[in-house]
Subunit: 356 residues, 5 copies
């Protein structure tokens, strides 16, 4: 996971509640999109001034989505307009939060994370998504436009399903559901890379593959740590500890909870796979050493006896057998070949060179 | 375990409650089998239309088993007929669920998994079995006909044991019992493959064996993760948290609970075995390297001195001893043999070549 | 631990409560031994028919011990006589149970295991001992006669200690105490084998030793898993959750509980020891490779320079120094010895060959 | 982490409550700095005698910061003045405490630790900071002046934020917040060193790098153990178990709690990174051995055949082919080159030497 | 830790409450030392008969310390005199207990362990210390005189601190405090040995060092297991579950609790250190192999080409260049040196031989 460890030092020593955007600026412009709907009608608008937002009403649900968090001024205005606690605003801007849920008198504040996988760098990038759920209002804050909520907008416009007929809690659930569903898309991409690595491991093992396996394993562990608290949060919503969700909605949240557990288990399965790949890599190196040594041994055993024989007949004794024989040279040569061939046959029989 | 990780992405962005069958279509036709029984009489029928199902009655138990889940239309009809919550229908069709139990007003919804082991691929395949338990009704949903419940049908027909005399909860228990019992059959198959691998490991260690050990270990871990929640679920049934089981039936459920724990422990024992096999494989490679190097060393030590001696008597000095001697050549040869023989004896005494 | 994984498949598909003995038949005959005692008198009898058993009485304690469980007919009779639940009878016969405690209205049902260690096979065999504790009655079921309870019988006959003066709960405690005490005898045997392995590891490391270490480690882990639930059970008895033990007896049970924890900790200590032995084995192989390579290097360094020198003086140049010199040959030889000696000295100084 | 394990033995056998400063003397002089403030006014003073401290008043908050703890006499006076329990004084002086919170009737006693990282020694030094929170008073004890609280002093003087308007609990929170914020600065330094090690590992792997990785890993684990209880403490403050913090302040403490968890997770991520580096180091050595053996094999295979050929034509047979041929020598030489070249081509094609 | 696993088998089959001393007899004589004190006066006596002990009184505290437990008769007398439960007496004599606390009506029974480290054997020896705390009485049982409580006696005599003015619970606390404090002295000795091993590892790695590391690691783990329950016990005393300690004393016990946690964490830190040393050892062997192979390769590459050249000029062709040249021999020799020197330069440049 991309390290953003300078986020905290930026803020060290400042009083709490100071609005500073920590993290990279991921979009150049702050965009506010408003949906206002009831079962009967729907209004969709991109807003430039907060004054355009109608006051809260019992008859309709207001969903305000904010892309881009780097302008503290607009954030402060939003905080004022919707009476958000300074700490909430600070947490929205501090985009390195762990998933959490904080309950206030009038609203629930949810921090979740959205992950995208960069296959080229084998790196998981993450983005913070904050959701505020009031009685008739849902605010969602994203670091940049990702189009992740587009299917939901489509559903709102088309008035499919129960969404338009239900309260703000169902909208918040739908957002959560969408976020967790996207996790599985990322998981597939990581799994694909895993398979590629496995393939490379078997056919072209190298130190680069090893480093990539380690990298992916670390990313997977970091991801697990980042998603783990989300599981806990959704569970607390299912148990309806905070009373912001209706009983019927918690049934649906239970589904999201199941998905989050499923996701974490898939990550653990992935980690097992990667750990196994490390073992295979290490043993394949040992195997390689074994093979090299075997070749060296075979070569040595083939040539050393022949060299000795040639040395023997190269000695300068006056009285030596065969030397004056017409076929002497060829007999010596044949003897060399015989010894080498015998050894070769021996190896071939024991399948020394093909075994690995 | 076979990866079905595309299941989730299929559904991303759809409203909850949308009935889409995720997973492979495992049978070509949807088959509904109905049992209707009381202590005195029993009726067994394969149904083509839902209208054939008699209305619920206090005097008899209705068991409807459905094979094949890929036709959302029939599923929707069943949902309507038995007043199932849209989420339950969705979960039945989404065949990648973890085991879970959901309680509704009129029925209990149980998701369990059925595992089969493909020895050739060393792969565990799994199939979702959903069970719905009402007051006088049990619905069971399977992805394809497996014949797993045949002994139960036999028992119903033969009116053996207490089954016919008991309520729907005993039937649900019997289904669960049957499912968990089948786990042990799979466990035996895996254990057999484990033993085969152990045998190969000792006699023909190779990278393929290593990969198979890893594969089996991973499958075992995945299986453990998949069965773990079932244990929890049965425990909650034993504690009778949901009031759908009679006190006397929970005594029997306790038995299923014991079996599920036994199964998980057997998996852990298997994992220990496989982990030990990995260690043995790695050490056997190191042993192999050791042996190769030893052979190389012995060969070098046998031939190098002899080669040196032959080299010495091959030098062109005018004044050299032995050269003109009649027995000189044979003395040199004998000396070579002596040195080599002495070394050989030394090795033989230290049992260098036989030790491993 | 000896695998008995076919136990479950034997029963698959049978209705619950079917009495089938799963496991090996370990004794050829079913033997029933009865003790009936009070503080004043004691009666000891081997029984052939259940009718010989006197009816329960408030004034005396009845202890019935059954060896051999393979005759379902006798078991069914016992069940009838003492009004045991069918599931209890089934569990007694199914000798692959994990330790557990089940509470019924009139009695407590305890499953424990008895372990014996087969040093030759390095294998732990286990046997199920079921104990039923009623108000004035204790039933104990063993797979075969082991003589494990003989000291207890002796104590009953001799009227030593408080046993005869106390209730049935004290007898049940005494049985448990005896079982746990025997665990330590087995532990000593395993520890002895461990020490033998450690000895072999240091003096004759081989793949067989490695496999034995792994086997013992696995047995130890399996044993730990098998004893773990017993600890939990005794703890629940100490907390007196079931009201079958008197307050004063729970004090003694606390002692058994301490022993069971002590036993589990000893197993963990043993596992640490065995894991360390694996590490030592692996590193000793690497050390061995290191030593071999060093010898090879030394031999090569001793002979290669000398061989080169002999080769140089074997060249056929017309004008070469020393060749015609009377002492030429000896000077060359001395030079060879000098180089080899210098290298040897160098190695000896760096203690290359003795270091390991 | 620097070992200060002699701290305890210094005190062994002394009665509890004896004031002895354990740990190194880190500053030569004890300095007392007093802040006394309300929303309207602020007074800042360095104090030489405890008499200068005004008595507690409801209208203003008193913050007394003490640098240097090695003078038991002054500490005893402070204890007397603020009615601190002897054990609290002892704990303040015994600077090897784990983080903890102790509640007394009139005040809360918090022990936290401050860490600095010495990059040259790859060592984490730690310093104990004790905080006492009364109703209108905060005492903070540091081993030496670190300037860590300077931004807070600045904020007090400038009357920025809510600090001056709030109670003593907010000041205590601000101190805690400052301490935890500093943790992240240290984390960045460790991460930087980690990256340096990773770089060295890939380009110049050596035993020194290995030892450094191990050292950093150990320091990271020690740090985790040292911070872990702090997390627990802050959590207990958030749950407001002790009633010394106002409801509104606990909202802010929740933030500190999140930071402490974030910090611990970062440490775990770091540990994963370092563990992976160890694996890479070990496998890179194996790779190195593999490469060496391959070079040796290639050299042997290139020269051995040529040497044999030269040996063959060095034999002293009377009848040998080529010897008298004018081109004989060059033919033999060409043959040698051919064999060596063929082998070289073979290796080059299999990319033996470039692969790693 | 020294194995005393025969302790249990000694007692197998005996009725509970049988007084048998298990463990080695560590002192030849049983010594009873009595302290009887109040704030005003103190009486110290070595007792030969139990009759010398005055009856319990509200005005003074009685501390009876017993060295040597091998005389069951005296123990039985003490049991009678102080009305101890038979199980307590049995536990005192059975010196292989885990730390535990048992509460009886009139007294609290504490089992703790005292550890000494034998640096020569790298072995931790342990001794059981039993403490019985009544209302005005403290009994302490030690296996042999260790002088561990001498500072406490000194403090009693000198009437320093609050000890004489407080009740029996403070004396019990003081004993516990003394025991835990001694743990840290042992910890320092182990740490010293650890450092010695680390030193040996870097300068003279050998299999003996490896075995010592393993031994120390195992001892550390055993120690951790032995101290772990003590932590739990002290915690239960702090929570004052048993009502034998006054509220003010539990504050002091909290201190002992902190120390015990600190001790356990130090042990874990030590284990990390030793685990790291194992890794370093294994990698240093691999490094060693690498170095050996490199030397072999270098030697081979230096001498093989020269040997080939000498072989070439040793061939018996009639027409060979240089042979008749006056400088031929020297040119050949120069060529050999050139090749060897070139290789040597190549290695030197790549720092092959110095790198490790």
């Amino acid at each position: 996971m991309k390290k953003k460890r300078h986020a905290h030092s930026k803020k060290t020593g400042l009083p709490p509640g100071t609005l500073i955007h920590t993290g990279d600026v991921k979009t150049s412009q702050v965009t506010l999109t408003m949906f206002r709907y009831s079962a009967e009608q729907i209004e969709e608008r991109t807003i430039t001034s907060l004054d355009e937002i109608p006051s809260e009403s019992e008859n309709s649900i207001l969903w305000l989505n904010i892309h881009g968090l780097h302008d503290p001024k607009i954030m402060a205005e939003i905080g004022l307009k919707f009476k958000l606690h300074p700490l909430v605003l600070e947490d929205i801007l501090n985009t390195e939060q762990r998933p959490k849920v904080d309950v206030y008198d009038d609203y629930l504040y949810l921090v979740t994370r959205f992950f995208t996988y960069d296959s080229r760098e084998m790196q998981i990038n993450s983005e913070q998504i904050s959701i505020i759920l009031g009685e008739h209002i849902v605010l969602s804050f994203q670091e940049r436009p990702t189009g992740s909520f587009d299917p939901l907008r489509e559903r709102l416009r088309a008035n499919k399903g129960l969404l338009r007929k239900s309260g703000a809690d169902v909208l918040a659930y739908a957002l959560l559901d969408m976020i967790v569903d996207k996790y599985f898309i990322m998981l597939e991409q990581i799994s694909d890379d895993c398979e590629k690595l496995e393939d490379q491991l078997l056919h072209r093992p190298s130190n680069v593959v090893l480093q990539n396996i380690h990298k992916l394993k670390r990313e997977t562990m970091d991801l697990r740590r980042a998603v783990w608290p989300l599981r806990e949060i959704i569970n607390s919503l299912v148990r309806n500890e905070f009373d912001f969700f209706q009983e019927s909605t918690t049934l649906y949240l239970r589904d999201v909870y199941d998905h989050s557990i499923h996701f974490i288990e898939s990550l653990e399965s992935l980690r097992d796979l990667l750990a196994g790949m490390l073992d295979i890599y290490l043993s394949s190196i040992s195997n390689q050493v074994n093979k090299e040594v075997r070749i060296l041994t075979v070569v040595t055993m083939l040539f050393m006896p022949a060299t000795l024989i040639s040395g023997i007949f190269g000695m300068n004794f006056e009285h030596m057998p065969l030397l004056k024989d017409y076929w002497g040279f060829w007999i010596a040569l044949a003897f060399m070949l015989l010894v080498a061939g015998g050894m070769g046959l021996h190896f071939w029989r024991r399948q020394w060179l093909s075994r690995h």
